[in-house]
């Protein structure tokens, strides 16, 4: 489903080149639940960005559902994301001017689908069936993240990337979100890639990649 080889990322800074990721290779099977863990600054988010095609690597290659990302231009990668990838962010990243329902519809609309029934059903599924017309500012953090989950699943993605999805939430709300996310994941048979520094959360994954200083430190399957 997802494979990367010799992935290296570096940024040019004032004094020289800063290597954030070095020589990372692994593969994820369809339906797998993978957690990427590591301390702050270990390169977790950079890796996630490269895997999802949000950025180009300095070296190496990523294959998403068999497609090599480096051969695609930005719009092609955007189209690929729209078709196969879902995202959940730490800060929810809802569009403040759109209602909950409209936010869930955005990825569908970008593909030209304007029927709101799927978005509505998803909001029902995440328990927000009665709040479809609310704006993000009118929702609590947990509710916003549930809207974000509904949005992530709206296009029936093959793979879901989640970046610290509970980072901004209290423990109980966070647990509820993880519950919901893994449930949806199971129902849809989606591959799940989760970035976190929360060991409890990572413990729920069947496979854990541990990063340190931009290198792959360990790859354990439970």
């Amino acid at each position: 489903m997802l494979r990367c080889e010799n992935l290296t990322q570096s940024y040019r800074s004032g004094t020289g080149t800063l290597t954030v990721l070095q020589d990372i290779s692994f593969a994820v099977e369809a339906g797998e639940f993978l957690a990427i863990v590591g301390p702050s600054g270990s390169g977790k988010t950079t890796l996630l960005g490269l895997l999802a095609g949000l950025d180009r690597p300095a070296a190496g290659e990523v294959w998403l559902d068999g497609v090599g990302l480096s051969r695609l231009d930005e719009d092609q990668r955007a189209a690929l994301r729209g078709a196969k990838v879902g995202f959940v962010f730490q800060a929810y990243q809802l569009i403040p001017t759109l209602t909950a329902l409209e936010n869930v519809q955005v990825p569908l609309e970008l593909r030209g689908e304007s029927d709101p029934s799927r978005a509505r059903a998803l909001l029902e599924r995440v328990g927000l069936g009665d709040r479809t017309g609310h704006y993000p500012a009118q929702l609590s953090g947990g509710e916003q993240q549930r809207v974000a989950l509904a949005r992530a699943f709206s296009t029936r993605p093959k793979i879901l990337f989640a970046d610290e999805p509970t980072g901004n939430l209290d423990q109980r709300t966070g647990a509820g979100i993880i519950e919901l996310m893994t449930d949806l994941n199971r129902e849809a048979g989606t591959t799940l890639v989760l970035v976190t520094h929360d060991p409890d959360l990572a413990g729920r994954a069947r496979r854990i990649l541990r990063l340190a200083d931009g290198r792959l430190e360990s790859d354990t399957t439970t």
């Binding site: 930005e74 962010f89 569009i95 970008l110």
Partner: protein
Amino acid sequence: MTLRALVQLAWREGRASRRRLLLLVAAIATGTAALVAINSFTANLRTAVSAEARGLLGADLALASRSPPTEALRTLADSLACAGAIPCGDRATVTTFSAMGYIPTRTGVRLVRVTAVEGVWPFFGSITTTPAGTWPRLQAERVALVDPAFLTALGASLGDTLALGDLRLPIVGTVDHVPGDVGITTAFGPRVFIPGALVPETGLLGFGARAQYDTYLRLPTGTVVEAIADSLRPRLRPDRVRVRTVQDEQRNLGNALERMGRFLGLVALVALLLGGLGVASAVHVMIRQKMETIAVLRCLGGSSRQVFALFLIQAAGIGLLGSTVGAAIGLAVQQALPRVLGEFLPVTVTPTVSWPALATGLCLGVWTAVAFALIPLLGIRKISPLATLRRPYEAEARPSRDRWTIIATLALMLSVVLMAMVQAGDPLRGAAFAAGIGVALAGLWFSAFALVWGLRKSFPHRLAYVWRQGLANLYRPANQTVSVVLSLGFGTFLLATLLLVQHNLLRSLRVDGGSRRPNLILFDIQPDQAAGVDSLLHARALLPTPAVPLVPMRIQSVGGRTVQDYSRDTTEVDGRPAGWALRREYRSTYRDSVVGSERVVAGSWWGPGTDSAGAPVSISVEVGLAEELGVSIGDQITWDVQGVPIASRVTSLREVDWARFETNFFVVFRPGALEAAPQTLVTLVRVDSASERGVIQRAIVEQFANISALDLSTVQRALDDIFGKVGAAIRFMAFFTLAAGLVVLLGSLATSRAQRLRETVLLKTLGASRAQVTRVAVAEYLALGTLAALTGLVLALGSGWALARWLFETKFALPGASMLLLATGVVTLTVGVGLWSSVDLFRRTPLDALRNE
């Protein structure tokens, strides 16, 4: 905390958002530049006018009259020039009249203004000629000098022979500059300079010809000119001799130029105010975004007063930097102004820095930035340190309505009114201008508010997604819809108003309009020439209108009181006839029917036939003149028609459309009384082709030298030319306003940049292509630009209509095409600037969405 420390902190705090601050600096700079440029230039003009003052008149004193100087006047002039002093002063006589000038060996003819100079004039200032130094030849030789425009119009060159009536003179040079002369006036008729002694040889100043006779005097040094002028005026008034002095000239010219400068200055002020608006709106948003910084500062022990001072210092810094940059740009623009306005200036302006103008610009710039920033800044006091812990999501820093906010608002309004008053140089006009700005801004604000409100209330859910997203951005948190619509809309409003005024003024002066209307006027036809002219025109298959008689006359008495009575009586009483109306020369006609350009509004028009013998003749008076003379139906006026008194009675009042270039009259007589009086005739004819008009004018002038022909299409071209140039000068300043509007737009884009970036990148992460992201932006700017342009246009229609209706008193017409062009231009600019400033947003990789927050 010391001031020094505060300033330092303000600097550190501000440097992070340099791009945004730079745009605020630009917003203030644009207005300051316009203001400094125009005010400094006006100061230069003032200096130039007083430096060249004596040259404007060319003499110490001038005695002007419509009839040749009498022997008594000559004696008086000589005695004044000498006044017992040694050496004696000088005297010169300049006679000015219109005539047809042509070159016998070439085709074509031009109506020219003949200036016949007798004596060494001007006494002060110098006349520039090509070849240089040709001017004195007028005093000794039989030669002529002409405006370069005359040579161009007839395709003539130096050395050719000029024909003026019966006079033939070689053209030995062109006159390039006469002190006090405004370049643009040559558009109506180029000037021709001849020796004064040769005027009789032209044979042109016969009966009915109009000429002005100016006797110029140089008084012995030490003479108090004003005292002499004051004592001369009452003595010479009965003889209809006007006394002009250098001071009069300077005052009149100074006033006219001052008005022009002040008007343009007001336009510049608008640009500055728009910049202030941009500052206010940016500060408002900035405070909301800096809420955390502010809360942290408060947590660290800063008092709300200190934090407030911190940001106020930033605002003042922006104002100072902006106005300094603006002043520098303004001084550069000032160098260009003589080129834009040159044709209207009777003096040569050397651009030099006017320190008062510079200082005023700097002060107004800083003050505008501070005054406009003040109200949103007051919100800072409401931010509690608690915000560090919990950022309220709906962080709407509601404008509070406490005492300070009210004071700040009043201070802002008051300072705007004051600035307008100072710039207008007249409290009433300034207040009216401020009120006008207020109404326009209120209209724009309302329209922006209505859009946001309307979108919120009933969002067009059926639109395609990118459109919905773009429109939704108009009311996103921290949106600047209102400020952008205000500033762009105001720029549009100003430009559109100017276009409308120009169009309507020009249209009302459209003299060659209508394909059937006459376009050639022949005047000064002597009665014995009428038949000849008629047959000349008929021979060319042209159908002139029936010749209209013109009888020159003056008023002898109104309601039994003579003009002399009136002028001796200096008491000011309402309803007393105005001096000019009593003293002027009237050219009246007689006919038995009403013509198309007039309408009887009181009394009744006479029937066919004549008044009974012995009774006063019936006359019809133009409404405005009747008011000036204080006469109404039934009143008696006695006329002096070349020495013969003719009694008349007002039987009707007429409204006359003077803008129509036809033979219109203040006073029309019933037939029967004037037929035998000395008179000239006017006839109008339609000649379609321009070349034929030339041929006919030439044929007439060769056969009847004294007849003048006025080609209305030439007049039209001159009018178009003048209005075009006036329009260009005003637009030059108005563009600063539009520029200020665009800077505000850029500023607001920079302010909302972080949020735009987040959204753009998020959309891309969710699968949006670059084209889709671009289209969202296009939708937003298109809506913004369209709203601003349309509202600006609607407001301009209102003001243009009002100006046409009440100020220029013409019917209002809409130049659809140019309005559409302006609107399209504004929308295109808005979308263009919006996209241009977003280009790098679109380029960002979506990874940024994961980072940050």
